[in-house]
Symmetry: C2
Subunit: 176 residues, 2 copies
């Protein structure tokens, strides 16, 4: 017997991450992203990535942010950070990834993001970016809590506003 939709939701909340094997039980959009009908307050998803030397180098190139605190160990060691730190926006980019790849997933339009950088991220740290649905607004607008942690310590906190599709609206436009 296939698990019920509600049973899957309970499972998801328990793990605080989305088991992609259960996705076919939801309506989902054509790109396997969640529609507004699929979302409930409290749903959550996480991605984690180790921030390597290569990430810091590539992010410096892409952003043109070549601050010595990211690239010069001798200088960085002389600051209160006592060594190089990753770009804040590099860790923040993982929030964009979890929104785009997991929850709400493909099809999500990014409207706004606020970020508080609360602790440094160092080369070799593994950043866990977690998004949690806070509020479902009108016209597919969704507010999510967005948090990045390293070993359980919050390094970025904030909220995202996104816009997502509606399976009901798609069905109506197909019939109309």
């Amino acid at each position: 017997m296939r698990p019920t939709r509600d049973a899957c939701r309970v499972e998801m909340f328990y793990h605080l991450s989305i088991d992609t094997n259960t996705k076919d039980l939801f309506t989902m959009n054509d790109q396997n992203g969640y529609d507004v009908e699929d979302l409930h307050v409290g749903m959550s998803a996480t991605v984690a990535k180790t921030i390597t030397e290569a990430d810091i180098l590539l992010f410096s190139a892409v952003s043109t942010d070549v601050n010595a605190i990211h690239l010069n160990e001798e200088y960085a060691a002389s600051t209160p950070f006592k060594g190089r730190i990753a770009h804040g926006m590099l860790s923040a980019s993982l929030i964009s990834a979890v929104l785009a790849n997991r929850l709400p997933g493909p099809g999500t339009i990014y409207l706004a993001q606020d970020l508080k950088f609360t602790a440094p991220v160092r080369p070799g740290d593994t950043v866990h970016a977690t998004v949690t649905v806070l509020e479902l607004g009108d016209k597919g607008r969704v507010t999510l809590q967005t948090t990045c942690t390293v070993k359980g310590v919050t390094v970025i906190d904030g909220q995202a506003q996104v816009k997502i599709g509606s399976s009901a609206r798609r069905a109506a436009s197909r019939q109309g």
Copy 2:
């Protein structure tokens, strides 16, 4: 005759960017960044960068945000965007660059950033990221307006909070 400090400031406002040749007239910190004593409300700086295919590819790798809207032209052409767009956080990373490289410049600690993504950025677009000092707070805290534009159209709007050093505090700690 060397131009006065105020004359340089007027020149800077006129160009809406900082002429690094005038920097030696200011106190600056050891890394050539501005101290809180150097800043005035209205000071502004810009960096501009063309967002290339390579940037989008590298940002996808670093962020793990591999949304089809960034990488799959066939899919992206079928969406309201009518083609691929750059990651919002990729353009936002230029704000980090102008804060870190120009104003306040090296030594700046990034505390917070809010972002509204108001229009898409496409491969080949040149993004101009401008920061403008809005408010000087206590203990070296500075609020800046942060805006990214493409051909004069705002693509990102928001504010940054940063913390910077003080030449007076440094002098006192050297004497103390």
